[in-house]
Amino acid sequence: MRGEQNNIFAGADRLTIITYVLLVFLGWLNIYAAVYNEEHQNIFDTTQKYGKQLIWIGGATIIAVCILLIDANFYTTFSYGFYGFFLLANVLVLFLGREIKGSKSWFRFGDIGIQPAEFMKFAASLALAKFLSNSTIIVNPNFRLRLKDVIKNYRNTFYALIFIVLPLIIIKFLQNETGLAIVFIAFVIVLYREGLSVNFLIFGILAAILFVVALIVSQITSLIIALAVICAASFLFIPRNKKSLIMVLLVFGGASGVVFGTNYVYNHLEPHQKVRIDVLLGRGTVNLKKEGYNVNQAKIAIGSGGFFGKGYLQGTQTKYDFVPEQDTDFIFCTVGEEWGFVGSTCVLFLELFLILRIIFLAERQRSDFSRIYGYGVAAILFFHVGVNIGMTIGLMPVIGIPLPFFSYGGSSLWAFTILLFIFVKLDANRLLILR
C-alpha cells in the first residue's frame, strides 16, 4: 500500500495518459514531416522546429510529473488564485509583451515565447469549477416573473458567465487574438451540464442559424418579412392570448435584432475575418489565389491523400510549403496528406476517445469540483479539435487555434498538458474525497 502511494502514477488513469502520449508522439512525427528539410534530417536537431518541439515535450513531461506530485487540494484551494494570476498576466502582456503579427500576446524569454492566453484556459476551468461547485445555476422552473425572483434565479448564471467572458474580452479586444478568445465559448457546455436551461442553447443555436442565413441571403428585408410571416403563422397554432402574443412579438423582435445585428457585426469585422466567413459560406467570388488560398490549399493537401495517404514524408503539398501554418494550426493537413483517410480517422478517433474518456472520468467523480473541471477540460479540447479540423476540411471558418497535443508550439502543448494533468491528478485523488 505504501509503495503504491509513493508511485506518482498511483490511481492515475492509464488510458488517458497513453492516449495523451500517443497524440503527442504522433504530433511530433507530423511536425517533422511538415517542416521536413533535407538539409536537417536529424529529427533531434534543435535548430529545427521538430527538435524544439522535443524540448517542449520534455518540458511538458516534467510539468505533468510535477502536477501529479503536487497535492490535489492545491488546485482546489488556489483555483481563484490561478485565475487572478493569469488574468493579470494577460493584461500585463499588453505592456510587457512583444508584438507579433499585429497582436501583443507573447512574453519573450530569450528564444522562448510564452503566450499567457493559453494558460488562461485551465485557470478559467479551475475557477469555474470552484464557483459552480459551491453555487447552483439550476433555475426553479416555476419561478414567478418578478425582478426579485429573476435575479435570485439567474444571479449565479450571471457570475459564472463573468468567469468566462472576462478573459474572452481581454484576449479578444485587448490582445486581438480572436482564436484564443473564442475558445471560452466552449464553457457553455460545462454550464449546460451543470444545469443551464436547454432553452438558452436552443435560442443560441437558432440565433447562430439565423446569423448564417442572414449572411447568405442578401435581401435583409425579405428575410424580415419571412420571419414576420412565420411568426404570424405560428399564431395559428398557439393559444391566442395576450401572453403568447407578447411572446411571439418578442421572438420576432429578437430574430429581427439578430438579422440586423448580423449585418452590423459582419461590417465591423476585420477584412480577413470577413473573407474567412465569405470563404466558408461561398459568398461572392472567392479568389483561390488570395483570400481562399489557405482553405483551398488545405483541402488540396488533405484531399490528395486518398485512402491510405501518400506515405510518411511523401506529401508534396505539406512538404513544399503549399499549406500555410502547416506545423501549427494546419498540422492536420500533413496527417491528411501523408496518412490518408485511415490516418485522419485514427487521429480523430484518438482525440474523440480522449474527450469521451474525460467525460466518463468526470462523471465518476465524487466531488463536484472535479466533475465540473473535467467537463471544462473536455469542452476545451473538443472545441479545439472541432474548430481546428473543421477549418482544414472547409466546414468551419479559419480560426487560428491549435490542434490539442498535435500542433507545434510550447505554450499550447504545456497549457493542454497542465489542463489535462490537473484533471488526471484530481481523478487519481477521487477516492480520498469524502462526500
Binding site: S304, S344, L348, G386
Partner: protein
C-alpha cells in the same frame, strides 16, 4: 437529488453531440479524400512544374534532296516575375536596349492574366544572336529570367513561299482545343507546314519538377520517371523540283498568275507557283514576321499572300475544248474526221461565240490545233442534245458529271490547304438565272469553249492535262514524295482515279491535236521546241476583270510524259504570247536542264505586265 440525476443524463447528450460532430468530419474526410478526386489533380498541378523541351522542327527537302527549309536556333527570354527580386534591371535594359518604361510595361504584362507572376512567360521573343551572347554572360545577375531555346525556320532559297507556308504562334482557340499546344507555341499556319504539322513538329519533351509554393524548383518528380525526351520532327521530302520552282518563279516575276506542274505518272507536284510571290524568310521570327505579314497582307494591288495556284478560280477558256472533244468522242458523237462549219463564229447563234480566221471548217485534230470556237460550240450541243437523252437537261447533267470526273467543280483533295473547287454550273443554277424552261443548250453554248460560269483553279487545269497525258486517269496531286526516312505517303495519293472518258482512241486524237498546236498552223507554233514533242493547248480566257487571261497547258514528251503543266497569266492577252513561253521554257528546264531559246527566256524574264497605275481586281476569289 432528482434534478441531479436528470442533469447526469446530459452526459449522453454532450457525448452524443461530440460523436456526431466527429462523425460528420469523418464523412467529410471520406468525401474529399476518397470520393472526390479533384484535389488529387489540384495537388499534382500545385507541386509539379512542367518544363518543356521544344523539338527541332523537321527539315524540308525537294525531290532531289536539296534543302528547302532548315532551322535556326532562336532564343526567347523568359521571365518569372515573382523571382526577379535582386535582378539587375538596369543592366538587363542595357543588354536588351530597352527603356525602363518598356521594361516595366512588359513586367506588368507578365504578371497579368493569362500570365501569372508565379509562372514563366515570354519577356523578349527571338533575341538576335549578339543580344543572346551578351545576355548569356550576365544571366546570373538577372534573377527570375532564363532563356528558352527554340528553333525558327530558315529558307536557303527565297522560293515556294505559298507551297511551304509559314510557321506562326498558335491561336488561343487552337491552344484551348488541342491539348498538345500551349499558348505561345508555334504551329504551321499554311502550306505544307500546316498539312504536315503533326509530322514536322515532332513531340515536345517534358521534364516534371517539383516546386514549392514559391514555384522554386526543388527536385525532379519521381526521379524523372515521367520525364520524356523531345522527339525531333520528321524530315519532309517535297515533290517539287527546287530548280524548276525557282526558274518558274523567275519567269513569272512581274506577272500575276499561276503555274502548276505535275508528274503525270505519280501525281506529284513538280512546281507550284503563284505570282506575285514573296520571300518566305519574311515570315520568320516574331516582330519582323508580324510587320512583314501586315505589309504583304495590305498589298491590295498584288495580293502576294493570295495563293492563286489553289484558290484563284479562272475561266479556263479554250483549254476546256480538250474535255469536250474527249466526251464527244467517248459518246460516239464525233470522230477524227468530223467537221463543223465556222464562219468567224458559231453560225446558229449568228456568229457567237466569235472565232478567228483559221481557214475553213476543221476536222477534230485541226480544231484543237487552231482552237476553233465554232467547232466546240457544235460539239457542246452534240453532247447536251444527243439522242440518248430525250431531255436536254439529262444531256447537260451527263456533260457536267463527266467534266467533274476530271476535277473541275470538286476539290481535288490535294494535301495542300485551302484549295477551291472551281465551278461547273448546275441545272438548278441556270433554272434560277433563266427560269425553268427558259434555257436551251444554245443559251449556254459558251460553256463548250470554257467560258460563261465555268471556273477552274490552276491546280485543276494541271490535273486535266496530267489526266490527258495519262490517257484517262490521274493521281490526286500532292506536294510530297514522303515523310521521314521511310518516305511515308498517304495511300490516297497512290490511288488511280479514272475519269469518265476511257476511249483510248479519243485520247490519241486529242493528243494529236495538242501536238498540232505546236506545229505549223497551230496556235502555239511559235513556242515549239526543237527536240521535245510538246502537246499543248492555248487558251485566251475572257473575264470580267479586264484584258483576257493568257492560258496554256501542255505535257511533254508525248510518249511517256514526264511533266504536265498549266500556266495562267492574268490579263496578259493571248495564251501563246505569255503563257506558252513560260510552260515551254519550264519543260525545257525540267527535261534538259537549260533552254535553247535564250531570246524567249530573256523576253519573259524581263516582261513586266503589272502596271502599278492600274488596279485590276484579280480573278474570282
Amino acid at each position: 437529488m432528482s434534478s441531479n440525476v436528470q442533469l447526469a443524463e446530459r452526459k449522453f447528450i454532450i457525448g452524443g453531440f461530440f460523436c456526431l460532430i466527429i462523425l460528420i468530419y469523418i464523412f467529410r474526410l471520406f468525401y474529399i479524400q476518397v470520393i472526390d478526386d479533384q484535389y488529387v489533380l489540384a495537388a499534382r498541378n500545385n507541386a509539379l512544374r512542367r518544363m518543356t523541351e521544344y523539338p527541332v522542327r523537321g527539315y524540308i527537302f525537294d525531290r532531289t534532296g536539296k534543302l528547302l527549309v532548315q532551322n535556326e536556333p532562336s532564343y526567347d527570354l523568359m521571365i518569372i516575375p515573382k523571382e526577379t527580386k535582386g535582378c539587375d534591371t538596369l543592366a538587363l535594359c542595357a543588354v536588351l536596349q530597352m527603356t525602363k518604361e518598356e521594361y516595366l510595361r512588359r513586367y506588368k504584362k507578365a504578371c497579368q492574366a493569362p500570365n501569372s507572376p508565379r509562372k514563366e512567360s515570354v519577356f523578349e521573343k527571338q533575341m538576335s544572336a549578339p543580344t543572346y551572347a551578351a545576355l548569356q554572360e550576365k544571366l546570373y545577375r538577372f534573377n527570375g529570367f532564363f532563356v528558352q531555346k527554340r528553333t525558327v525556320r530558315k529558307y536557303p532559297r527565297p522560293i515556294a513561299g505559298h507551297l511551304l507556308g509559314y510557321v506562326g504562334e498558335v491561336t488561343k482557340e487552337k491552344a484551348e482545343k488541342d491539348q498538345y499546344y500551349r499558348e505561345g507555341d508555334y504551329i504551321g499556319v499554311t502550306g505544307v507546314e500546316k498539312s504536315y504539322e503533326v509530322e514536322l513538329r515532332g513531340k515536345k519533351g517534358v521534364q516534371l519538377a517539383i516546386t514549392d509554393v514559391h514555384n522554386k524548383i526543388i527536385g525532379r518528380y519521381m526521379n524523372g520517371k515521367y520525364d520524356t525526351l523531345a522527339i525531333p520532327g520528321k524530315p519532309l521530302y517535297c515533290s517539287i523540283d527546287m530548280v524548276l520552282q525557282e526558274y518558274g518563279e523567275k519567269l513569272m516575276k512581274g506577272k500575276k498568275g499561276a503555274v502548276v506542274a505535275i508528274e503525270p505518272a505519280t501525281g506529284e507536284i513538280l512546281a507550284i507557283i503563284s505570282a506575285p510571290s514573296y520571300d518566305p524568310n519574311l515570315l520568320v521570327g516574331g516582330k519582323e514576321r508580324s510587320r512583314n505579314f501586315t505589309k504583304l497582307y495590305y498589298d491590295s494591288l498584288n495580293l502576294p499572300l493570295f495563293n492563286r495556284a489553289l484558290t484563284a478560280m479562272y475561266p479556263p477558256g479554250s483549254i476546256f475544248k480538250l474535255i469536250d472533244a474527249l466526251i464527244a468522242q467517248n459518246d460516239g458523237l464525233i470522230n477524227r474526221t468530223t467537221t463543223f462549219p465556222c464562219a468567224m463564229g458559231y453560225p446558229p447563234m449568228g456568229g457567237k461565240p466569235k472565232c478567228h480566221a483559221h481557214g475553213g471548217g476543221k476536222s477534230l485534230i485541226g480544231s484543237i490545233a487552231v482552237s476553233c470556237n465554232s467547232y466546240y460550240s457544235y460539239v457542246f450541243r452534240e453532247i447536251v442534245d444527243q439522242k440518248k437523252y430525250p431531255n436536254f437537261l439529262d444531256g447537260y447533267n451527263h456533260w457536267r458529271e463527266t467534266v467533274k470526273t476530271f476535277g473541275p467543280g470538286t476539290r481535288l483533295g490535294t494535301d495542300l490547304p485551302y484549295d477551291k473547287p472551281g465551278n461547273v454550273p448546275s441545272v438548278e443554277y441556270y433554272n434560277k438565272v433563266f427560269g425553268k424552261n427558259g434555257w436551251r443548250s444554245n443559251t449556254i453554248v459558251s460553256l463548250g469553249i470554257g467560258q460563261a460560269e465555268l471556273l477552274l483553279v490552276p491546280l485543276q487545269m494541271a490535273n486535266v492535262v496530267a489526266t490527258i497525258a495519262n490517257r484517262g486517269f490521274y493521281y490526286t496531286p500532292h506536294s510530297i514524295k514522303g515523310v521521314g526516312n521511310e518516305r511515308a505517303l498517304d495511300k490516297r495519293f497512290k490511288e488511280k482515279h479514272y475519269v469518265g472518258v476511257q476511249n483510248q482512241e479519243a485520247y490519241t486524237n486529242v493528243i494529236d491535236g495538242m501536238q498540232g498546236a505546236l506545229e505549223p498552223g497551230g496556235t502555239a507554233y511559235t513556242n515549239r521546241l526543237k527536240d521535245i514533242i510538246v502537246c499543248g493547248k492555248t487558251g485566251t480566257a475572257q473575264n470580267p476583270h479586264g484584258k483576257d487571261h493568257a492560258v496554256f497547258l501542255a505535257f511533254a514528251p508525248r510518249d511517256n510524259p514526264k511533266i504536265a503543266i498549266a500556266c495562267i497569266v492574268e490579263n496578259a492577252g493571248f495564251g501563246n504570247t505569255w503563257s506558252a513561253p513560260v510552260v515551254t521554257l519550264m519543260i525545257e528546264k525540267y527535261l534538259k536542264g537549260k533552254t535553247e531559246r535564250p531570246e524567249v527566256e530573256k523576253r519573259m524574264l524581263e516582261a513586266n505586265l503589272i502596271d502599278p497605275k492600274i488596279v485590276v481586281k484579280s480573278a474570282n476569289r
